[in-house]
């Protein structure tokens, strides 16, 4: 490894050495490299400041219909050979699996906009510390406490196989998060960009600090079913949970709300698109099996249209592989979801609410009932009562227990601006991003409250 990146040529050479050492009918090498740097602050001072440079190889060996994988971060000849031999040995000992189709044959990979920005890859500790200081200073100036982080990340994904697959993409992204905390209330903001020079740190500070100023001294509001305006931070959570159920595997296992309902109405008038080629996301044209990722409309104006597959689930379900394998083999998922924009400003969304609640962010959300998409969680960092189209006052945080797709059954407004957000770490890698708007929903059920 020299410089920030391994690069196409070096990763191809590593993959070739691993594939040569594998003893099976087929073999695949997935290499993930990442340099992640994160400057974390709390109580308006940096308290953790870290960087790590990691790269690992996963080699998958197929013997007949048997297969196994081995993963290592030892990328010298000994390490590669040992991993290939381990995977080969495990594959030979594995039982036959008549449902296994073998590795996917290579297919042409369309070009996608580049998600790699040199300046992000080259950001220094001092660059991140200065951005963190900006966030801390903006909060301190109005006697608020700042907590959050500034991060810059560069990652490389490469896939090769003995069938001739080769796919490589470098990606960068920078991220800033801030919670501005007062004596009796807080607010949150987040920004993500592939280009650190475009990361809107000032905007994040202004959003969190401005909202925190009106979030102090929250009042009690009885838990009930209310109209809500959800900021993109909360909408991202909903899209993330629903995305998990929009896969062929979820349908096969009987846990998807769209199972048996393709072509039917499943939500209100929203359109959810899986778009790996969206230049304003963090695009990547292939999946973790090196297969081209399709752009798919998952839900169109409320009607279920498609789910995503990887090679294994597609074969088992007699479907077309859409190119959505994740690093964990056999768990396909959408990785570039966009909830299409509407025609309203965020202010207009609030103005449309007679009596309701503005939610900035959800916290600790978990399935209660997957098939019905019922999720529980808390609100945090800025929850407000809305009365007659205006934010009336902050309220204490709620617990909600709500079917996410049913909540989308009554969409009363969608903002015209989308926010890019990231989630989903696997192998220390960012695997998925979302672009989502703010939403005005007709009914959302809060089932409890807390004391702050």
């Amino acid at each position: 490894m020299s410089g920030v990146l391994f690069g196409d040529r070096e990763l191809h050479a590593i993959a070739e050495r691993a594939l040569r050492a594998a003893a099976g009918d087929q073999a695949e090498a997935l290499i993930i490299g990442k340099t992640g740097s994160l400057t974390r602050f709390a109580n308006s001072a940096i308290h953790q400041n870290v960087t790590s440079r990691e790269a690992e190889l996963r080699v998958r060996v197929v013997v007949g219909t048997r297969r196994a994988t081995a993963t290592t971060n030892r990328l010298d000849d000994d390490g590669l050979r040992r991993a290939a031999e381990l995977a080969s040995d495990l594959a030979r000992r594995a039982p036959e699996d008549p449902t296994y189709p073998g590795l996917p044959a290579p297919r042409p990979i369309p070009s996608a906009p580049s998600a790699y920005v040199e300046k992000t890859a080259e950001a220094t500790p001092l660059d991140r510390a200065r951005a963190a200081k900006t966030l801390c200073d903006k909060a301190s100036a109005v006697k608020l406490i700042a907590a959050g982080f500034v991060a810059t990340n560069v990652q490389e994904i490469a896939v090769a196989s003995t069938l001739g697959t080769w796919a490589y993409a470098p990606q960068t992204y920078a991220e800033a998060q801030i919670a501005a905390i007062g004596d009796d209330g807080s607010a949150f903001a987040q920004r993500v960009s592939t280009d650190v020079t475009s990361l809107d740190v000032e905007g994040a500070a202004a959003e969190a600090v401005g909202k925190a100023a009106i979030a102090q001294h929250p009042r009690d509001l009885a838990p009930d079913t209310y109209e809500v305006v959800l900021t993109p931070y909360a909408v991202r959570d909903m899209v993330g949970f629903l995305g998990m159920q929009l896969s062929g595997l979820a349908v096969e296992e009987g846990r998807s709300f769209v199972g048996g309902k393709i072509g039917q109405k499943v939500t209100g008038p929203i359109t959810l698109v899986e778009d790996p080629y969206d230049s304003r996301s963090i695009p990547r044209a292939f999946d973790f099996e090196g297969q081209p990722s399709e752009r798919l409309t998952l839900i169109e104006d409320g009607v279920a249209r498609a789910v995503v597959y990887d090679s294994v689930t597609a074969h088992r379900n007699n479907a077309v592989n859409t190119g959505h394998a994740q690093p964990f083999v056999g768990l396909p998922a959408p990785m570039h979801v966009r909830l299409e924009a509407g025609d309203k400003t965020r202010e207009q969304l609030v103005a449309g609410v007679k009596k309701g609640v503005l939610v900035t962010r959800f916290h600790y959300t978990r399935w209660v009932h997957q098939l019905r998409t019922i999720v529980t969680g808390m609100t945090r960092d800025g929850t407000f009562a809305i009365l007659d189209g205006e934010i009336a006052h902050p309220v204490k945080n709620f617990r909600f227990t709500q079917s996410y797709h049913e909540a989308l059954g009554e969409v009363r407004g969608i903002s015209k601006d989308l926010s890019l957000l990231v989630t989903g770490e696997q192998f220390g890698l960012m695997t998925s991003c979302q672009r989502v708007p703010a939403l005005h929903l007709g009914a959302f059920t809060f089932t409890g409250a807390t004391r702050y």
Binding site: A45, R58, T71
Partner: protein
């Protein structure tokens, strides 16, 4: 002795420390970590996945200009040790840009020591065929039951060899070994998806050897697990929005303890370090020693020496020896999980709870073994017999708690109504919710030591960048009065 000698790594660690000192570090430590894992999943009669992995590298933590920096690399070579040592100091100096006061460390004796997890059967010396056979047989037994959509059986074997060397003279080598696994049956129908697992999701795990998994008799419990999953499809719903008595199984109580006691007693949370992400804690330092956390029945222990616990080790990742003490004693909050830095803020010494997720992450405060100690209520059957009206809830399915660890809601895989001291009808989708001190305050009975099991959470998330931790939680079934149950219809 099977702990590696770490001869090369020790030399590189000293080199990195020298570089850090030369560049201006007033304190530094180096951890070399090698992790080996094997995970296997059998699903619907086929081996769905098996992966053998290893990861090796080192991390340097440095304090300079009164602030912290951390850098890590997997290139184990002299030049890289120099680069990473210098980079940790460069990062620390950048951190000082926002410094309000110098970071300080509570004292610790710098020791040369080793530690190794005791075990009977080394899981890495067993043949893969032997490991796999257990899963295949247990999963096949479940599939004999008609009406299941998905059956799974999984195991995890895990080992970490690590060397800790500090600028204060510590030199500690450890080998930690863990084994875990379980079985799961899922049934789909009547608009329901229901699951039963044994012994605790697919995430049961303990420190030790292969004997940990074989003692649970996965095959012997497979038929019952399958039957219960199918039965849940036609079971009646949990009573809705009702106040009643709840008996929690030991594995459910262990997770409840993890979320509502283990996390809020992390002193870094209480001091605000996690405020933007995982959250803070309602157990603020002014409450230490006086706050009534639960009833007098409630005793919660912090013990990094417990047999089999996922938080059992010789020394934490700051070189502080494993310790034992109390978080809650007879219902009163009396103790935090601490690091050297946070302990200094309270004017005390660390109790050794700093742990990192491998070589590439900085140590942060993590639970060791935080356990609800047994009471005197006898067996689970005794406790049921002593309960007129209520619900027994078994094995976690859903969990959520607010960012101060106050308002919680849990769901379990299965429940059974209790009427007049007898276990009656099965109920599906059981949930319960409440506020932490009120809930623990309503605990009026905990089963005796014979029912106490060291459970574990091998997937506890915290920190940014994200870190996973393995934490231990001993618990026995316990009863709570006046609990709100039945949140979903």
């Amino acid at each position: 002795m099977t702990i590696p000698a770490f001869a090369v790594e020790r030399d590189l660690a000293k080199r990195a420390l020298d570089t850090a000192r030369t560049r201006g570090a007033t304190y530094a430590d180096v951890r070399f970590v090698r992790r080996d894992e094997e995970n296997a999943l059998v699903k619907n009669g086929r081996l769905d996945a098996v992966d053998r992995s290893d990861s090796f590298g080192f991390g340097v933590r440095a304090m300079a200009d009164g602030a912290w920096g951390f850098a890590a690399s997997q290139i184990v070579a002299a030049q890289e040790a120099d680069r990473v040592g210098a980079l940790a100091v460069e990062i620390a100096k950048a951190s000082a840009l926002t410094k309000k006061r110098d970071a300080t460390l509570a004292p610790v004796d710098a020791v040369r020591a080793t530690y190794e997890t005791p075990l009977d059967v080394d899981p890495f010396t067993l043949s893969f065929d032997d490991r796999l056979k257990l899963l295949m047989n247990a999963e096949a037994r479940m599939r004999e039951r008609k009406g299941l959509r998905t059956t799974r059986a999984a195991y995890a074997v895990w080992r970490e060899d690590k060397l800790f060397v500090s600028s204060e003279g510590a030199d500690i080598a450890q080998r930690l070994t863990e084994v875990g696994g379980g079985i799961a049956a899922e049934a789909v129908g009547n608009g329901e998806l229901q699951i039963r697992t044994y012994p605790d999701g697919l995430r049961y795990q303990n420190a030790g050897g292969w004997e940990i998994l074989t003692r649970w008799d996965l095959i012997g419990n497979a038929e019952r697990v399958a039957d219960e999953a199918v039965a849940l499809l036609s079971a009646k719903p949990c009573p809705q929005d009702t106040i009643t008595s709840v008996i929690l199984s030991g594995n459910q109580l262990s997770l409840h303890c993890h979320e509502s006691c283990g996390h809020p007693i992390e002193l870094d949370r209480a001091l605000g370090s996690e405020a933007a992400f995982a959250g803070t804690s309602f157990l603020t330092p002014d409450k230490l020693g006086t706050f009534r956390y639960g009833s007098s029945q409630v005793n919660i222990r912090i013990d990094a020496t417990s047999e089999g616990g996922l938080g059992t080790f010789g020394f934490d990742d700051e070189g502080v020896p494993a310790s034992e003490g109390w978080a809650v004693k007879e219902g009163i909050f009396v103790g935090y999980l601490m690091s050297r830095e946070t302990a200094a803020a309270l004017g005390t010494r660390s109790n050794g709870t700093m742990r990192a997720d491998g070589w590439a992450r900085v140590p942060i405060i993590r639970m060791t073994n935080v356990s609800v100690m047994p009471g005197d209520a006898g067996t689970l059957d005794d406790l049921i017999a002593d309960t007129d009206d209520g619900i027994l809830m078994d094995t976690n399915r859903s969990w959520s708690i607010d960012d101060k660890r106050f308002n919680f809601q849990f769901g379990t895989e299965v429940g059974w109504e209790i009427k007049n001291g007898k276990r009656r009808d099965m109920v599906r989708n059981p949930t319960y919710t409440g506020l932490t001190p009120e809930f623990w305050g309503s605990c009026d009975a905990i089963c005796s030591e014979s029912e106490w099991v060291m459970w574990g959470t091998p997937n506890c998330g915290k920190g940014q960048p994200g870190q996973g931790a393995h934490t231990g939680h001993g618990a026995a079934p316990a009863r709570f009065r006046d609990v709100r149950v039945g949140v979903i219809k």
